[in-house]
Symmetry: C2
Subunit: 327 residues, 2 copies
């Protein structure tokens, strides 16, 4: 089985975005009405077609990351919007239980304590069968005003993640800071920033079973693995394999062979989860290969990694990281 | 000849930091008095010893990046501090003209127009023989409030860089945002952010001879080269080799063999400049190799790159990018 741990519902029906526009405009949104057929139409020609074409089996599916927009409105805005998005993800996963497993958006809001997210997380996991969540380390959308992830500010949410035994993918949303292009800078920077925060602290001493997935191949981290090992050493921290790699995983959303080869060489196979971020950040065909940039399975297939390690990356690791995924 | 294009005066005599403390504390600083012998002592056991030990010849030398601190005080604070730092760099380069070529810090200040830096840039280049400068894309120190590098806000400074025929290394200073560790997140994020900004615009149509060096191996960019090629394509921009690589160069401050190998594989040799960022971000010995993490010459020597390409990286390219370097 080949499991893609990182896909967003970027192709959701227009009614969802209309609902959101009404909400953002300060109107009371109409009740969201989307038929099963509309949902089918939204994924049949996109995510499902791509699964078939590329030979992947199932995608861990969450709301469009760029549309979480935790910086818009207040906690109530975020709660209502998250509920609509998560309910729709739930419907997708029920219509296609063999193709999608549900991952939720959290109703974060800048400066609002993370325990505010617990009710929606519990609803999604306990009532709707979600297997994980996306945690935004910067709900301000590019201004980075929240305490670092190692701060006790986040602990109540971590306690709930541990109790429910679900991991969090550390994933920012769109950027409202013109310095940061969202998929080209903000996403990658957030991955790098989060990992460095984890090096600086000792979070996993307090939460030995907490699990984070850092997407987009870990941002800059594997490319600068020597820098991170060296910084940790200068800071008198344990070796990274002991300090963070029992709890931190990288996905494979890296869109060229040389990048994937580096990731597979530097990061232990036990810490890598297959993903493509589909339909996502980069949509075109690489003129140098003739294949889609985001067809990451192709790069892993072409790598020299032993078959056992490939199986870990495609399937075994996600079962350990996401134990609520049972298929 | 082996030229390291990226070194900072991290070992400057204590009197310099005392001067700075007086300034930051709002006192009128005493006149800075540092003897030639103090300068010799500050580099003999550090940068010069390392040059000898590692077999490099000359370092492009600029004030300590983390201490530029453009966010402290106002434009006058920054002007006075930059002048002291640059004068000291000038003295180092005069004492050791075969070991150091001078690169200046600019007196930037948040929200202050970049033309404010022109007088100090001209003084350094025309009067003191400096060959380049460091340009901070985020003088706020981690809050990213300045317009992107492609904005006309920066154009008067670019016009002067072109007129003087000196390049700018895009280099942030310390972070006063607790989200960003300075050498582990802010530096790397800034490199990534700057490159993405350059993709988004068409700056080099307006300044075809402007040259930027992006340090720390280009941040996350080479690792995500497929993503950046794909984003540029989705944005209907030219191929990156035509869009930015006639004007943008990456240094080799990547502290492990696999990272350097990726850089050398993905980025054309014409766009890579040798550097170690010494004495800099990571100071220890890699327990996996027994050599210093920041001994980047060793990784390039060990790579499979043809000798001609290595010579480009060690010497020929810097002569093209920094034509005022004459040795």
């Amino acid at each position: 089985m080949i499991v893609d741990c990182h896909g967003h519902y970027t192709t959701a029906p227009q009614s969802l975005w209309d609902w959101r526009k009404q909400q953002v405009d300060g109107k009371r949104p109409d009740t969201l009405r989307i038929s099963d057929q509309e949902i089918r139409d939204s994924v049949e020609g996109a995510q499902l077609r791509i699964q078939r074409e590329r030979g992947t089996d199932l995608t861990f599916f969450s709301p469009r990351a760029g549309s979480m927009e935790h910086h818009v409105g207040d906690a109530r805005t975020s709660a209502d919007w998250s509920r609509e998005c998560n309910d729709l993800i739930h419907r997708v996963s029920r219509l296609y239980p063999r193709n999608f497993a549900a991952v939720c958006q959290l109703p974060q809001s800048p400066g609002v304590k993370p325990e505010n997210c617990i009710a929606e997380l519990e609803r999604c996991v306990n009532e709707l069968g979600f297997i994980g969540c996306n945690l935004n380390p910067d709900p301000s959308g590019g201004h980075w005003k929240e305490p670092p992830l190692i701060d006790k500010w986040w602990y109540p949410l971590y306690e709930k993640l541990v109790e429910l035994d679900v991991p969090a993918m550390i994933h920012v949303s769109s950027s409202c800071n013109p310095a940061f292009h969202f998929t080209g800078a903000h996403y990658i920077n957030a991955d790098t920033t989060a990992f460095m925060q984890l090096i600086q602290g000792d979070l996993f001493k307090d939460f030995p079973t907490l699990r984070f997935v850092i997407p987009h191949g870990g941002g800059a981290v594997p490319y600068h693995w020597g820098r991170y090992r060296g910084l940790a050493q200068d800071m008198k921290k344990p070796l990274l394999k002991d300090h963070v790699l029992k709890n931190v995983y990288f996905d494979t959303c890296v869109y060229h062979q040389a990048g994937i080869d580096l990731l597979l060489k530097v990061i232990p196979a036990d810490n890598i989860l297959f993903a493509g971020e589909i339909v996502g950040a980069v949509r075109g065909i690489d003129p140098e290969t003739g294949h889609y940039f985001d067809d990451t399975k192709r790069y892993i297939d072409a790598s020299k990694l032993p078959a056992g390690d490939k199986k870990k990356i495609f399937e075994d690791n996600v079962r350990k990281v996401y134990p609520r995924f049972k298929l």
